[in-house]
């Protein structure tokens, strides 16, 4: 058997049609892929018509996670699937006319630094108003995060963008 790696925690947000058999389809696929289910929460208050959002938290081997998500997509809507972040997290906020220049440069710089980008969220109020972009990353070590910080500092300073960094939090 192939070593699929140490299990990682996954949070899976799906929308299920409110008919019998939908949830068991999802749970069976998770089990088939060697997943160990921790919790299942229905968010009925957020239902859109017959589609009900459900969050399923489970542990699964990283190598099987991708195939599992693909298998689920056959029958349900997968909203997001996130593995638990490992390594050194860091959050950034870019404030200013971020979209006037190539925003991909920031992301490319982050990838080049060796960090993984988990979330990019933007708040845009109008063409002339400053925007805000939130970026959430992890690096394998402090050096990778340091490179990411340097890259974003350089790009934002060249473009007159305010860069707000996260503060390394202490447990």
């Amino acid at each position: 058997m192939v070593d699929a790696g140490a299990p990682m925690k996954m949070e899976l947000d799906v929308e299920l049609r409110d008919v019998p058999g939908q949830l068991s389809f999802v749970l069976d696929r998770v089990t088939e892929h060697g997943g160990n289910i921790e919790s299942v929460v229905h968010h009925r208050q957020d239902a859109r018509g017959e589609w009900v959002p459900v969050r399923i938290v489970f542990e699964v081997a990283p190598m099987r996670a991708h195939r599992l998500v693909e298998a689920l997509k056959e029958r349900v809507r997968v909203l997001s699937a996130s593995g638990e972040k490992k390594g050194h997290p860091m959050a950034f906020l870019l404030v200013g006319h971020v979209f006037d220049s190539h925003i991909d440069d920031y992301l490319e710089g982050l990838y080049e630094s060796g960090c993984r980008v988990h979330r990019v969220q933007a708040e845009v109020t109008g063409k002339s108003a400053p925007s805000a972009v939130f970026i959430d990353i992890t690096g394998d070590d402090d050096a990778a995060v340091g490179r990411a910080v340097e890259t974003l500092e350089r790009l934002s300073s060249e473009r007159g963008i305010l860069l707000v960094r996260g503060l390394p939090e202490v447990a």
Binding site: L93, V95, Q121, A132, L162, V164, V170
Partner: protein
């Protein structure tokens, strides 16, 4: 131990030591200090064995001198003497200069020279004025040591928060390696309101000014220089790192937008102006993303400081970083901590 002896019941039963104060600066903090002192005179005598009298009050218009001790009251113009602080230091017998004039971060103002004169004359000095401490802490400490007196300045960083006492007294033998904190109540009020109500920077600043939390010219606060001054003081005193203002990388909060604060909040972060300095690396003041559950996410005008220690991990203290009575409380604690 000398401390224990001073505070023992036996010592306190003796006649209290008479302490004469020259009070320079009689604004909100000066008046609050004088009032607290008068109100608690008996308790202070009983508990600390000192009878404290204000023998002179100096303002920009002149000085009011009553060697038998002044009560806190409106200063009558016809009792005013045409004397500067240095005149008073030369002519009035006293034990301590309490220096509470407004901060001048560029030159230190007359306060710097007055503190030097007081030390040379053998007076202890207690100050809430950041200027002289930012500009010449090592020099002033050396001068004080040479003259056998003490210089105390607890109120200069975080006002009511006893951060110096924590570092000097409680954390003896446990080196502080890094300090970070929300060091400016004006900025924190503005950022809190931008997060709570979705206000823009200008609206939140206007509200802070209307409530008296921000000056008409808010530059020192919102551009980060007040926080930077505190970073310098903490770096010098707590970390023993001789930094000056020019060594701090300072970014204020003017470019922060309401949308940015709201977006950060949705992602689980508050935006706070954080001053940070360690034993090495850059000293900074900048808006930072602080997890909503972090002790650094204080609300309104509060300040907070977190010390990272070699053996005890992080220790955070929060409280009021401005205000008359709050600041005066730290000045009084300094006065009573002097070796009387």
């Amino acid at each position: 131990m000398a401390d224990a002896t001073r505070q023992s019941t036996e010592t306190v039963r003796q006649a209290p030591r008479h302490v004469r104060v020259i009070l320079a600066g009689y604004g909100t903090v000066g008046r609050a200090f004088h009032t607290i002192l008068a109100k608690n005179k008996a308790t202070i005598e009983a508990k600390h064995g000192v009878s404290v009298d204000v023998v002179a009050v100096c303002r920009s218009q002149g000085a009011w001198v009553t060697e038998s001790g002044m009560e806190p009251r409106p200063l009558a113009l016809d009792e005013r003497r045409d004397m500067s602080v240095s005149d008073v230091l030369r002519e009035v017998e006293a034990d301590v200069l309490v220096e509470l004039t407004p901060t001048d971060l560029e030159t230190g103002g007359a306060a710097l020279e007055n503190i030097r004169t007081a030390i040379d004359k053998g007076l202890h000095v207690v100050t809430a004025n950041k200027g002289p401490v930012v500009l010449d802490l090592p020099g002033l400490k050396e001068r004080a040591a040479k003259n056998g007196v003490e210089l105390r300045f607890e109120a200069t960083a975080g006002a009511a928060i006893p951060i110096m006492s924590l570092a000097d007294f409680c954390l003896r033998g446990n080196p502080v390696t890094r300090i970070e904190g929300v060091l400016n109540g004006t900025c924190n009020y503005i950022l809190t309101r931008m997060g709570e109500e979705g206000l823009g920077f200008d609206e939140a600043l206007f509200e802070a000014q209307s409530l008296g939390y921000a000056e008409a010219d808010p530059a020192a606060d919102v551009d980060g220089w007040d926080a930077a001054a505190k970073v310098v003081i903490l770096a010098n005193h707590v970390l023993g790192r001789p930094l000056s203002l020019k060594d701090v990388q300072v970014t204020g909060i003017r470019a922060v937008t309401g949308e940015a604060v709201q977006l950060a909040r949705k992602q689980g972060y508050a935006l706070r102006l954080v001053g940070a300095v360690g034993l090495e690396g850059p000293a900074t003041v900048a808006p930072r993303l602080v997890p909503l559950a972090s002790p650094l996410n204080v609300q309104g005008t509060l300040n907070v400081m977190r010390l990272h220690t070699a053996y005890a991990g992080p220790i955070a203290l929060s409280g009021h970083g401005a205000g008359g009575t709050e600041t005066a409380s730290a000045v009084l604690a300094d006065l009573l901590a002097l070796p009387w």
